[in-house]
Structures are given as structure tokens and as C-alpha cells.
Amino acid sequence: MLRYTLKRLLSLIVSLLAASVVIFLLIEIAPGDPASFMLGVNARPDTLAALQAELGLDVPKWQRYLNWIGGMVTGDFGTSYQYRTPVAQMVADRLWVSLPLALFALVLSTVIALPAGIFAAARRGQAGDIAVMGATQLGVAIPNFWFAMMLVLVFAINLGWFSAGGFAGWDQGLFAGLKSLTLPAVALALPQAAILARVMRSALLDVLGEDFMRSARAKGLTERQALWRHGLRNALIPVLTILGLQFAFLIAGGIIIEQVFYLPGLGRLIFQSISARDLIVVESVVMLLVFAVIMVNFIVDLAYAAVDPRLRLRT
């Protein structure tokens, strides 16, 4: 198990390095010099050169890459071209919105999806199964920005239970913070839960047909006992895969929902930075997202091994 963990860790570091090179090169290829963009077309060459030096743009590319990576590792993400504030500070502020939102949505989706999937699988072909599957079909089909607007219409405007947008800030207390994230989290969680429930159901149905389930019944376990003791853990393996992918999506893909609810999250930050050609922010945020996604995959890999002893041996 230790060996497996170390191997995964090694592959995590290699992936991060590869990703950093790709991100750096992509941003370099993108046309437009930030300094001339900031000063406008009529800037004097010496002013331009001075600004380039200040932004650290006057050194060779490989050195800029090393400076950037070195800074990322030590927590110095550079200074925003546009706002002239440390990028680390900007990202940290936004992360305190995006990360809780993603986790909130993930917890919601799991709490809804797993019981729904198990419920449906245990009643295959019966009314309960058909109802759950119909609901998930709808959940997959509804676009989440539309669903988000409907949530605002009903729960914010008509009922007035939640505010229609914006973020209260964690300094207002945990409850206030969670409250302002509730509607966005529900909107994000709905399609995810629908997919997850379907995966849970089909994984469980596959497992129910396995020989060892029959062995369990032959031992004297009731259908329910066999399902819980032998079925569930085996069915969790494909579910974990999807869960990992979904978390990655929730962190990086909240842009639209953040836009609908005016949330100061990472998605909005990246959107605004691209428009303003604030490349250092884009670079750093994208790298951070990649880091988050790779970390999630790492955790999912470890979870696989915890669930399935066969993987602990594999390299």
C-alpha cells in the first residue's frame, strides 16, 4: 500500500510538471504583449521597456518559466498586470468561494445520488426504479443555468428564502456563507446527481448478477444483507471514478453558475483575466485548477486501493 501510494505520488508530480510546461507554452503562444496592452498603442519605447522589466518580461523564456514555477511553489504567484495586487491574494479570496461551493455541490450530489441509485437498483423494473430513472433523465437533460434561474425565481424572488446572488462572505458567519452558496450548489449538483445515480444503479445491477452474490445468498444472507455487505463495496469502484471526474468539473466548471449568481469565484476571475489579457493571473489560476484536478485524481486512486485490495498490488 505504501509502495502504491509512493508511485501515485510520483506520477502526480510528473503530471504537474508536464501540465505547467503546456500551460506556460500556450500562454506564450497567445498573441499580445501584456505591457503594450496595458500602456496602449501610443506608448513610448522606453516606458514600454521599463514596464516589461518591472513585470519580469525582459528575461529569456526558460528563465521566466523557472521564475514562475519557483514562485508557485513558494506561494508567490506574481503580481496581477491589471490590478497590481499579488495574484496569490486574489486567488485565495476566490478559492474561499469556489472550493466550498464545489464541495457543497459534491456532497449534495452524493447524498442524493447514492441512495437514489441503490433504491432504484433494488427495485429493478418496478415503479420506484422507473420513477427514479425518469427523474435522472430529466436531471441530465435540464441545462443547469436555466435551472439556476428557475431556482432564483422561485426561492429568491417569490419565496424570498435566499438572496438572488452575490456572496455574503465568511466573516458573516458559517451559516450566512453556506446560505448564499445553497442555490448555486443545488444548481450545480442536480445534473451531477442525476449522472451519479444512474452510474450507481447500473454498477450495482452489474454486481448483483455476480457469482459471489449468489454465494452470499447460499450462505443464508437475505437479499438486503447480500446487497449491503457484498454488493455495495464492489459497486463503489465505478462510482468513485465518476465522482473524481465530477469534482474536477465542479472546481473548474462553475463559471456559468458563478456568472448567474454573481459569485466572486475562480471561474469569474479567470473569465475576467482572459478578457483583460492579465496573463499572469490566467496562468496561475489554470495551474491551480490543474493542481486541484490532479490532486482529486490522486485521492480517487488512493480510494480505489482502499476499496479494492487487488489494486494494492498493482503498479
Partner: protein
């Protein structure tokens, strides 16, 4: 009073009759074998005793176990009986255990679910039971997972799960079909010992008549959901009444009349063939290690010669087959067909060889018709036949394997298992190869069908002077259809020689142990002569 008494049991699933008025008894300490070909309802009979039938099954009649009728018993009472009064062992040990639970947890679960014993008590009892089935805790700790055990060891765990509470009746559904002969012999001995130690009744479901004759006190022969004949083993073997029983036993011991081999020029020559597989790196910078699956194998097959290749699972016979076909590179030695090396650079040699695999269901694309399936190898020819020439060839080949030319327009699912294997042979035969490899080609077939396919081989040998390499774990079949046999173990050929000699007088200890372990049908003709 008998331990198990099945009376007039009939089962239908979606209006299809599965069992028709089945009746038989098992006494305490008695071994009853239910035998028959696929679709005879023997497994359904076993499942009806523990009442784990498909939800759509409708049953009439009685299954009285230890004085109680299982058919009318409510589900919670059935759960109580399963594992406690009746235990069950299944065919496929590789999948019968939960892969994510330790063997200790799985054996002790049987104990805990019925007795309410504490975890520690159940574990201690599980250790005893595992020791009894030949898995002592010092070598096989309870913390082992199924994937850390071999097939035979897993089957021992399954048996331990079934007998943990000393049930009065043990049901074993093809318990050794998936195992090698030497492992099979050990498992059968274990089952026999348990029956005599515990005084259990044993209901054994098997298609293997040699196992039946060896193990059972009484035999029940089934066909199409009905019992055609039952009786004490010796009496039944000596005096079979029903023509189906006679046919089954004759097919099992079927001897094929092979034509004498023709000339003796070498066709396939293997010299010191080595096949290594790379193992995954143990760490990033370590050199790759490799596993040698075939260790310097040399042998020859002459034109028109029939050679058998026998060995247990993992001995390297499949690897060797792939190497001969040129599907995988070899790391040492040479493989030559008619003097030309077999590799990707010489496609001409590939067309001289064809292969027939074990699974007649899996080896065809289900969306292609028979004519398209069997003409696939024709693209290997420089000038593939077209038009009427092609359809003539198809008709001729189908006729040669005992099918009708009209079958060319049908899909594979419209055929039975035996017919599909004929189609596979037709596909191999159509470009008139010099050599055909039969990779466990009759292992999945019922005995009566197997006998027909073996006869077909004999015909084809006579008509086409065919040479083949017949790879099988079934010693009796290899003996009857080959001139010469190779015995393979752990990547090496340990013995080779004329089939009759090797089987009558094995030299290598491994060959001797294989032959000793294989169950044999008693020679009834002689016995009857003595009586």
C-alpha cells in the same frame, strides 16, 4: 426417512418448462450425482433445493429437506436453512468469492449470520474450518484475499463457507469443472472425506461421467428437464436401461477411428522456442524483469500428423499456440513451417495455418452471416475466388463439416454450440491449410456433440490428409485423436512420444501424476463379461 426428498417437482420460467416432474431422494451420508448434458435442468434442480430460483420461476411439487418442504417455506425461514441445513458449492471458484473481502471474513460470515457468534468466536471457528479443507492458518492466514489464492485454493474456501456449520446436505454444482485434473482429484477427495466425516448427504451436479462413476453412490440421469433413469451406481453402470443413458456413456468413452498418418516429411518445426513476457517495473529506474512462459521448446509435426499438447492451466500452452500462429514475437529459437520462418515478414506461411478456439459463442461476429464468417481467411490468398467459384467453395466446405450449403445465409445465433464449432472448423478449412491448431476446441461441448466433432476430425484427416496440433486438458480425448502427444509443464515439454505409449506407460513423474489424477470411466464391457 431420507434427508432430501424431491417429489414431482416441476418448474416453468415464463411458460417454458424447465423441470418436469422430477423425483429422487438422498439419504444421510449418501452421494447422489445428477448428470446430463447442457439444458438438462440439472443445475436448476440444485437451485430448487436451496430455493434460489429466478423470480419468474413457477414451481409445483415438493422439495422436502430434513422433514420440511422448501417450496412452501417463507423467505426468512429459507434464509435460515441456507448455510445451516444445506450448503452449496459452485462451479467457478474464480468468481464465487467476493474480491474485496478477506477469506476469513467470508467464511466467518456464514457462522455469524446464523449463530450470532462474536467476531472472535466466528474467526476462530472459520480458522478451524479452513484448516479442515486444507488451508491451515499458518500458511493461509484469514487476512488473505481471494486474488492471492489459486483456483483450487479458492474452491476450498468456497467449500469451507458451505460446510462451516456442518450442514446436513451439501450441494456441489460442477465443483471441479473449472479446475485442472490434479486439483480436481484433490477437491473430489476432500468432498468424499467431508461426507464420510460429517455424515452429510452430497448432491453432486456434474456432466463428467467419469467423475460420476468414481464418486457417486447413486446416479440420476436427466435430459430436457426430466429424469430418464436413476439407480445405484454399479447397478446402473452394469445394466443401463434407457437409450439416452447408453448414448451418454458411449459418447464419453467414444473412440475415434483415425486413419493412419501418411508421409513423414516435417511440416512444423520448433527449435528452442523462448517466449518472455515483460513484467511491470518494480520501481521507476529498475530494469524491466521478464517472465519466461515458454522455456526452450522444441518439437516437430510431420505432414498429416496429429499431435496433442497436454498441460494444466498456466503451463504455457496458450502462449505457445500464439507463438506458433505468429501472433506474438518469440525471444529465442525458431518456428518454421515447411522450411519458412513464421513471422510477420512471411505472410505466406500464415495462410498455411488456421486455428479453432474453445468458445464457439465468442469467436464469431454475431452480425455476420455464415458465408462471410467462413470466407474471412480467403483474403490471405493471392487471388481469392469470386462469384460462383466462391459460393461453390462455401457450399463444399460447409458440406465437408456436416452442415448444409443453405446454412451459408444464416447468422451464428441460429446454430447450436456443436454446429458453431463446425462453422469454426469450416472457417479454418476453407483455405486448405496444412496445419490446424485446435485450442481446447471440444472442451465446451456436451459429450454427445463432442463425439460427433471428433468423428468429423477423423473424416477430415482421411479426406484432406490434415495435420493438426490438438491442445487440450482432457487426456482421454487427446489419446483418441492424436498419433503423438507432448506433455507440457511450466513452459517445458517434459515428455513426448506416441500417444498410446505415453498414456499406457508414462515415463515422467508429472505425466504419471496427470494420468493417475484423471478420473476414468470403468470399462463396463469387461465387467459385464465377468459377471
Amino acid at each position: 426417512m431420507s434427508l432430501l426428498s424431491i417429489r414431482d417437482l416441476s418448474i416453468t420460467i415464463d411458460d417454458t418448462p424447465i423441470l418436469k416432474s422430477v423425483s429422487f431422494d438422498i439419504a444421510e451420508g449418501e452421494i447422489v450425482a445428477v448428470t446430463g448434458e447442457s439444458g438438462s435442468g440439472k443445475s436448476m434442480t440444485a437451485m430448487s433445493v436451496i430455493q434460489l430460483l429466478p423470480k419468474s420461476a413457477r414451481q409445483t411439487g415438493e422439495v422436502v429437506l430434513d422433514g420440511e418442504d422448501m417450496v412452501t417455506m417463507p423467505e426468512n425461514a429459507l434464509c435460515d436453512r441456507r448455510g445451516q441445513t444445506v450448503g452449496m458449492v459452485f462451479q467457478e471458484p474464480m468468481t464465487a468469492l467476493n474480491p474485496v473481502q478477506t477469506i476469513g471474513a467470508q467464511v466467518s460470515e456464514t457462522i455469524r449470520v446464523h449463530t450470532g457468534a462474536s467476531l472472535a468466536e466466528a474467526k476462530a471457528r472459520a480458522a478451524e474450518v479452513l484448516e479442515r479443507v486444507g488451508l491451515p492458518a499458518d500458511r493461509f492466514p484469514l487476512s488473505r484475499y481471494p486474488h492471492e489464492l489459486s483456483g483450487g485454493q479458492r474452491q476450498r474456501v468456497v467449500i469451507a463457507m458451505a460446510i462451516a456449520l456442518r450442514p446436513k446436505l451439501l450441494i456441489a454444482d460442477e465443483p471441479t469443472t473449472a479446475l485442472d485434473v490434479t486439483t480436481q482429484a484433490q477437491i473430489l477427495d476432500l468432498l468424499k472425506d467431508l461426507v464420510s466425516d460429517f455424515g452429510m448427504g452430497l448432491l453432486m451436479i456434474t456432466h463428467d461421467l467419469a467423475v460420476v462413476a468414481d464418486m457417486a453412490d447413486r446416479i440420476v440421469v436427466m435430459r430436457h428437464g426430466e429424469i430418464v433413469e436413476q439407480g445405484q451406481t454399479q447397478a446402473l453402470l452394469r445394466d443401463m436401461q434407457h437409450p439416452y443413458t447408453k448414448m451418454l456413456f458411449e459418447a464419453s468413452r467414444h473412440q475415434v477411428d483415425m486413419p493412419a498418418p501418411q508421409d513423414s516429411a516435417p511440416l512444423l518445426e520448433l527449435k528452442d522456442v523462448v517466449r518472455d513476457y515483460d513484467l511491470p517495473r518494480r520501481s521507476l529506474f529498475a530494469a524491466r524483469e521478464s517472465y519466461r512462459a515458454v522455456k526452450g521448446v522444441s518439437f516437430k509435426i510431420d505432414h498429416g500428423e496429429r499431435v496433442g499438447l497436454v498441460g494444466e492451466s498456466g503451463c504455457g500452452k496458450s502462449t505457445l499456440t500464439k507463438a506458433i500462429l505468429g501472433l506474438e514475437p518469440i525471444q529465442g529459437g525458431s518456428i518454421r513451417l515447411d522450411g519458412a520462418p513464421v513471422d510477420a515478414d512471411h505472410p505466406g506461411t500464415r495462410r498455411q495455418m488456421q486455428v479453432v478456439f474453445q468458445d464457439p459463442f465468442g469467436s464469431f461476429n454475431p452480425r455476420h452471416r455464415v458465408d462471410r464468417l467462413i470466407t474471412e481467411p480467403l483474403h490471405l490468398l493471392d487471388t481469392p475466388p469470386e462469384g460462383s467459384e466462391r459460393s461453390d467453395l462455401v457450399a463444399q466446405t460447409l458440406t465437408a463439416v456436416g452442415l448444409s450449403p443453405d446454412d451459408a445465409r444464416k447468422y451464428p445465433h441460429q446454430f447450436s454450440g456443436g454446429q458453431r464449432q463446425r462453422i469454426a472448423i469450416a472457417r479454418a478449412l476453407i483455405i486448405r491449410p496444412q496445419l490446424i491448431l485446435f485450442d481446447e476446441a471440444v472442451s465446451a461441448l456436451d459429450v454427445s456433440v463432442r463425439a460427433q466433432i471428433l468423428d468429423l476430425l477423423a473424416h477430415l484427416c482421411a479426406d484432406y490428409g490434415l495435420a493438426y496440433l490438438f491442445i487440450s486438458h482432457d487426456l482421454s480425448v487427446v489419446r483418441s485423436v492424436t498419433d503423438r502427444v507432448l506433455i507440457m509443464r511450466a513452459g517445458e515439454i517434459v515428455e513426448q512420444g506416441a500417444s498410446q505409449d505415453v498414456f499406457a506407460n508414462p515415463q515422467h513423474p508429472y505425466t504419471q501424476s496427470l494420468i493417475a489424477a484423471a478420473p476414468v470411466l470403468p470399462d463396463l464391457t469387461q465387467e459385464t463379461a465377468h459377471v
